[in-house]
């Protein structure tokens, strides 16, 4: 059997999701026996410009150069996998979209701001067609392995589209709301095994919002615990500001 040709590409991001691959430990050796990694800039000097079976894209699209590059990658890839919050939902880079682009450029770079090219942050599917999504900041390795198996078998992968609360309950965590604290679990896609809440923090919505949130239920919870809606929206915009681009496209 010939091993499928896989490449990793990084766009605007912290590269933490690629690092999660290296963090698999010795299990990585087994994964590398199943696929042929032909390009992975962070870990390899090899470069490849032929056709790919799978392009794994990390990072969001924030410059005209990014747009050109991602379109070329799409054109030579049989399947594209958006990998991590920056690629799947725009992630923390999307917070930039709340500011005027010239203002934020001036704030960081001063009078020479025009030298630093940038545009509205977009998730990968907002620029090219995406076949597989692995959400999360960072990605949850057990889910990545599941998706990789689906890709190798030529099967689709459906991102879990129920609230993170379901996994959180199964993990027997005390609900953050019962501690009087606002948490994004009720409106956020599951699939990470309620990673942050298991460690005493709240859900920050890094996997994106469920397609059909229980809006009334969430509103009732906020009312019951006297937590202001704008605080929740503000927290949601930490990862999910690029959602507005999808919403505008639908209108």
């Amino acid at each position: 059997m010939t091993r499928p040709k896989v490449a990793f590409f990084d766009f605007t991001c912290c590269e933490g999701c690629q690092l999660q691959v290296a963090n698999m430990g010795e299990a990585l050796v087994d994964v590398l026996n199943l696929i042929e990694v032909v390009e992975f800039r962070e870990a390899m000097s090899e470069k490849y410009d032929g056709e790919l079976d799978l392009a794994i894209i990390e990072g969001s699209i924030t410059t005209p150069h990014d747009v050109e590059r991602i379109k070329k990658i799409r054109a030579r890839s049989k399947a594209v996998l958006a990998y991590g919050s920056c690629a799947t939902i725009g992630g923390v880079n999307g917070m930039k979209n709340a500011f005027d682009l010239n203002d934020i450029r001036k704030y960081v770079y001063g009078k020479d701001y025009e030298k630093f090219d940038t545009q509205e942050t977009r998730a990968v599917h907002q620029v090219i067609k995406v076949d597989y999504f692995v959400n999360g900041c960072p990605v949850y390795i057990p889910e990545f392995v599941t998706v990789l198996k689906a890709v190798l078998a030529g099967l689709p992968y459906a991102v879990p589209d129920h609230a993170a609360c379901l996994e959180c309950k199964l993990n027997e965590n005390v609900c953050m709301y019962d501690k009087g604290i606002g948490c994004l679990g009720p409106v956020t896609k599951a699939g990470c095994n309620s990673w942050c809440i298991n460690n005493g923090n709240i859900c920050y919505g890094c996997r994106g919002m469920v397609t059909n949130p229980a809006v009334n239920g969430a509103r009732d919870v906020l009312t019951k615990y006297n937590i202001p809606m704008d605080m929740i929206v503000n927290k949601m915009n930490m990862y999910n500001k690029c959602r507005e681009i999808d919403q505008n496209a639908k209108r």
Binding site: T63, R105, K115, D117
Partner: protein
Amino acid sequence: MRNVKVNVEYLTRVEGHGNIVVNVKDGKLETCELRIVESPRFFEGMLRGRSIFEAQHITSRICGICACGHSLASIQAAEDAIGFTPSLQTIKLRKFLLHMENLDSHVLHIYLLVAPDLLGVKSFVPLIGSHEQVVRRALRMKKTCNDICDILVGRHVHPISSIVGGFTKLPKEKDIDAMLDHLYKMRADMNETVALAATLKFPQFERDTEYVGLVSDDAEYPMLSGDIGSTDGVRLKKVDYKKATNEFIVPHSSAKHSKLGRGSFMVGALARFNLNSAKLHPKAKEIAAAIGLKPKCTNPYLNTAAQLVESVHSLEDSISILEDLKRTGVNYHEEIIVGLNEKGTIPVKAGNGVGAVEVPRGILYHNYEVDDKGIIVNANCIIPTGQNLNNIEQDMKKLVPEILDRTDEEITLALEMLVRAYDPCISCSAHFLDVKFVNR
């Protein structure tokens, strides 16, 4: 007369995007630049309007490799701004977390990013065939650090439970035993690593420069606290960090450059070693002596050797911290509940705070100005790779004329290895790297 054109687009085996451009015309060096082409990310701008209690969550996303370091610098700046003093137990656990990050990052750099050059291959992947046990050891050591971070803070990439005020989850007795067990087992792999490193031949090159790092009058090797010091005798309080960095913009880089007493300076493992080697753990000192590393070392390629020495220090000091914690026991009353800041549990006041922390690549500064509600009004982050960029270019300018008798390929590799030795983290700098040879 010789013409040389180097044009390395997207330097590999570094974190983030950079190019090297070198142009030698008629034997004269005309261009010698490290171009940072990472997309700007605007973290400082995006932090405005965010709560001081959210800052570490956001700023750890500046970098996946040094996420723990960013979160620790961020927390320190936030606590400084609102006037919160962490407990001794919290400081102890933060020092341990910083050790795990340095150890993890140094192991990744030594084995997966640098060793392939020294063994004459393009990446660690072919090493799986030729040196399988070495690759397995590297991945195993990395995983040990990751497994420990999983226990301590939920994960290494973007830690979960370390926040302003302390930890949302404190390790149970069995957790301390599990972490200690991991570290005791790692000693055997560390010994093998030291033995391997002793066989590696690093390139010869010397350029004396100013070395900058945290310094203190304590007996401890300073990582989490201290003043800013240099081998040229500079000593500044962390609040005066701008006097130590003097950032300026150059047209060929989306990362800002820095200078201090001389035209440029170096931060990172070699700088720390040059400043503070006397304070290393005795075992780390032994290793330094065994591989012949002594201060003041002016060969930047030996930054990797300094990382090895620091790895031994981090492993042994971590064991000491945990053994100490096991003896004294953990005070679980200090466990803090996230989000209670929204209810005013930790008092907030307007202020300006600075965090200065030694992360794997050098001093990392975070500075936040907050209003009386704890909302960030201004933010500034100065990352170590940014501080090193100018020094890397000065090294390249001295190195190129010394190696003009070599082939284009050899010159390119020497330059790539030089840049890699600094272990640059370009995602961080994105405020970073391109090699272009023009006209040979």
